[in-house]
């Protein structure tokens, strides 16, 4: 009986592990909200893989635990004398093989859609993001879509607006980002948009996204962007080690409701960037209580 305890021990630990993942969605330990046009593809594939892996996880671990429980040794007993089973081998080669091949092929179109430059949609909004140690510099043209935007990405323009750490776009816009880095490798990571791309020194890498939800209201009187919902504070992170400040390359993603909202904001940002007079703003409250 004591021998059988080991099967139970394994079973309990593995079950706890399984449950900790299974309760994840209930307590918020799960994928962040998805606001990307291709995000559902990614999530769908994630759930497909999760389904298959959960099945195989349960299958193998249950078999293992059961075997550990059932076939715990007793003195004087003898095991079955089996060297192998050809058909069984074929079975568990071909079936997982087929499933794996299916998983692989299922990925291809989504991957093409996300990353292939030829398949990127024509942009409505273009910006250039330059990573540096340790923040993001977003460069906006004075219109959402400058003429010959690829060249615009290479050659800085007098009218450009530079903003640290703030990425503005509007809902439903096909955004094209030309990603550069000033120094080491960085990686632009937008968890809610299911987007990640390394920035390579010496290269300009195009990435695109299309946000399907808005989170920002532009307040023209204060000149601030306000969240429409407290839980929709979408963030930008760096996902490639870039030195000591790697963790602090935080940025914010502002998705405006309409193009007009965006243009309003842009006008305001332009004004601030070309300010020729000191700000006449009352200094805000000092200490936090």
């Amino acid at each position: 009986m004591q021998q059988k305890g080991w099967g139970i021990f394994f079973g309990v630990v593995l079950l706890a592990a399984f449950l900790s993942i299974a309760v994840g969605p209930l307590v918020g330990w799960w994928l962040p909200a998805n606001v990307s046009s291709f995000g559902p593809d990614v999530d769908y594939l994630y759930y497909v893989i999760l389904g298959f892996t959960t099945f195989f996880f349960l299958l193998t671990e249950v078999l293992l635990v059961w075997a550990m429980y059932r076939f715990a040794g007793r003195p004087g007993n003898k095991s079955q004398y089996v060297e192998g089973h050809h058909r069984l081998e074929m079975l568990w080669t071909v079936v997982p093989g087929g499933i794996l091949l299916y998983i692989a092929i299922a990925q291809i179109s989504a991957w093409e859609r996300i990353k292939y430059q030829a398949k990127m949609p024509d942009p409505d909004l273009v910006m250039q993001v330059t990573a540096r140690q340790w923040d993001w510099t977003m460069r906006y043209a004075d219109t959402p879509l400058p003429e010959n935007h690829r060249r615009w990405a290479e050659i800085p323009n007098f009218d450009d607006i530079y903003l640290p750490d703030e990425l503005h776009c509007w809902k439903g816009a096909n955004v094209r980002i030309y990603l550069k880095t000033n120094d080491v490798l960085h990686s632009l990571f937008l968890p809610q948009l299911r987007l990640k791309q390394d920035a390579l020194p010496g290269k300009t890498i195009p990435v695109w996204f299309n946000a399907t939800d808005a989170n920002t209201r532009f307040n023209a009187s204060t000149g601030n962007c306000e969240w429409t919902d407290k839980n929709k504070e979408w963030e930008i992170a760096c996902a490639e080690l870039c030195g000591g400040g790697h963790y602090r390359m935080r940025g914010l993603l502002y998705v405006h409701e309409t193009k007009d909202d965006y243009l309003n904001w842009l006008k305001h940002a332009q004004k601030a960037a070309r300010s020729r007079q000191p700000e006449k703003k009352a200094t805000p409250v000092a200490a936090k209580d």
Partner: protein
């Protein structure tokens, strides 16, 4: 060509060697294996301590005010120090613990014993391969004390963080990693030495296995351990030179201002001394992963082999599907060479390459699945004896399933867009390398300890150690999957800056506490190990009633291993034969009368 023969004959003649020749500059593969074992375990302690520092910071990122904590600035670990700690943790664990333990310690100890050879083909080369580790040990340890500290660019050391040395001036700033100076050079030099050592070892293993097998030991009568070591050695010999080249090129970039990995066109980090450069940043990643992906298999295949033997022995049952197992190992090795690009899906590599690499990568799950099912087949209908070694081996199987399955997420390119460089990958690598390889290593230690030292390890404390390790390692590493799913990027010094990570911070603290408990549990192992070394129960030649050849030699085997060269008559897994009274039949035992000889 007569070296090995004349040597072993000579060694036979003079049994009494001085202490220095016998234990320090030994040419005996067993002593060299034990040397690797001890140095590996010492580095395991160092690497583990670093891991605790990492966990401490991640779990409690606001600061540390610990009287016992030696390095703190204003009560806080600096981000660069943190980067150094996790970089060196990974480097030490991979290059100074797992690889030396698996191939160095167990490879050395088991190969000649299991194939019935007197020693390695080139004992002097073998000794050199151990002593080439020592410059590496010295350099990597001293790198903690050089100006700026040890390397802190991650164990992958991607340029330009790792290789940029000086500012370009002109309004551009310098590489803000204090550690990319001398510390990084130390890192490169240490790895070069490790590489040379491994290369010597792998040539030796391959030659030994190809040419020095005992009479009757055909390739398909070799135990899985030997097969695994053989294929690992092939992987090493083919992949390591590429790493060597990459290391040398980065070393040249850092010392004599070459521009292999510096980007073109006077980037900010175009080295002040080199001009516009013109090299390719991605080239390092290609060369590095061309080695380091196979290296992942180098770090798991030997454990798979050892676990197969342990499971078969204690299940008292013939290994299920011996040949498919061998083919699976070979398949993993073969595929392992064409999947390195899956580490680079988001690196700016041509996405069309990603598609190809993805298909190859996903297919590599297949041989792993075959192996898992075969292990299950082995314990199905078995008569399992739950020794500590067996428990560790079974833990290997259970944990390898998790590690293998989580790998599929990263292999799938669109899903990897999200999961790349999050804690999910940290969970994956720890399930494969800690939960699998280390359990394999523990299993191997408990299993071969009597053969190595002639004494048995204490089973009771072994089991306590196992239970605690199994429990706390799952507590430490499993939640990493969850915070990975939530998008927690790896290598973050302080994740509390991010709102989307707010609700997983408690998990980080839980993992940190578990990690400390896990570390405490290892003390039991150490005490047990050293206590058993001197006080353990005496083991006979074959305490586990195992079939493989090493158990026909005395424990511990003398220099020259076998009193008489064994003649192999059958495969290594003849357990539970219903026609016999005993449930095992060693490989070198003459065929008992009345029992038909197996066909192979």
């Amino acid at each position: 060509m007569s070296v090995s023969h004349s040597h072993s004959a000579e060694a036979h003649a003079h049994h009494e060697l001085s202490f220095l020749r016998k234990y320090i500059f030994s040419e005996d593969h067993k002593i060299i294996g034990i040397q690797f074992l001890f140095s590996g375990l010492i580095f395991f302690l160092i690497g583990g301590t670093l891991a605790l520092l990492v966990r401490l910071q991640v779990g409690f990122p606001k600061g540390i005010n610990l009287p016992w904590f030696p390095i703190s600035w204003g009560g806080r670990m600096s981000p660069d120090f943190y980067a150094m700690v996790f970089s060196m943790h990974a480097t030490i664990m991979i290059f100074f613990v797992i690889i030396p333990l698996l191939t160095g310690a167990f490879g050395n100890f088991t190969i000649p014993l299991m194939i019935g050879a007197r020693d390695m083909a080139f004992p002097k080369l073998n000794m050199m391969s151990y002593w080439f580790m020592w410059p590496a040990f010295a350099v990597i340890l001293s790198s903690f004390f050089v100006e700026g500290g040890a390397g802190a660019s991650g164990w992958t050391s991607y340029p330009l963080l790792a290789s940029a040395t000086m500012p370009a001036g002109e309004g551009f700033h310098s590489p803000a990693s204090p550690h990319s100076g001398i510390g990084q050079i130390c890192w490169l030099v240490a790895l070069l030495f490790v590489g040379v050592s491994s290369m010597m070892g792998s040539i030796n293993y391959m030659t030994t296995i190809i040419n020095l097998r005992a009479p009757g030991m055909t390739m398909f009568r070799m135990p899985m351990t030997v097969w695994a070591m053989f294929i690992t050695a092939i992987l090493q010999s083919m992949a390591l030179p590429v790493l060597t080249v990459a290391l040398i090129l980065q070393l040249l970039d850092k010392t004599i201002n070459t521009t292999f990995f510096l980007p073109p066109g006077g980037m900010a980090f175009g080295n002040w001394h080199t001009g516009p450069g013109g090299g390719q940043t991605l080239l390092w990643q290609h060369l590095f992963w061309f080695y380091s992906h196979p290296a992942v298999y180098i770090m798991i295949l030997p454990a798979m082999g050892m676990v197969s033997d342990i499971i078969s022995t204690f299940a008292r049952k013939h290994l299920f599907g011996y040949k498919p197992m061998v083919l699976a190992i070979a398949g993993i090795a073969g595929l392992g060479f064409i999947v390195w690009g899956h580490h680079m899906f988001q690196s700016g590599m041509d996405p069309r390459l990603g598609t190809g690499f993805m298909i190859a990568t996903i297919m590599i799950a297949l041989p792993s699945a075959v192996k898992t099912f075969n292990w299950l087949g082995t314990i199905w209908g078995a008569n399992i004896q739950y020794t500590t070694a067996m428990l560790n081996a079974l833990a290997f199987v259970a944990m390898f399933v998790i590690g293998g399955l989580s790998g599929i997420f990263m292999a799938a390119t669109p899903v990897d867009v999200y999961f790349h460089d999050t804690y999910f990958i940290v969970a994956h690598i720890h399930y494969v390398l800690f939960m699998s390889s280390i359990f394999g290593i523990f299993g191997g230690i408990y299993y071969w300890f009597p053969k190595m030292f002639g004494r048995l390890m204490n089973e009771k404390w072994g089991k306590v150690h196992f239970v605690l390790t199994f429990l706390f390692s799952n507590c430490t590493f499993f939640p990493m999957h969850i915070i990975g799913i939530a998008g927690h990027p790896r290598r973050y010094y302080d994740s509390t800056l991010y709102r989307f990570l707010d609700n997983v911070q408690p998990l980080n603290q839980f993992m940190t506490i578990s990690a400390f408990l896990l570390a405490l549990a290892q003390i039991i192992f150490l005490v047990n190990f050293f206590w058993s070394l001197f006080r353990g129960a005496k083991a006979g030649a074959n305490p586990w009633h195992s079939n493989t050849l090493e158990w026909t030699a005395p424990s511990p085997p003398p220099h020259g291993n076998f009193v008489q060269t064994p003649i192999v008559r059958r495969g290594p897994y003849e357990y539970g034969n219903p026609d016999m009274e005993e449930d095992y039949l060693p490989q070198a035992e003459p065929q008992p009368s009345g029992i038909p000889a197996p066909a192979h």
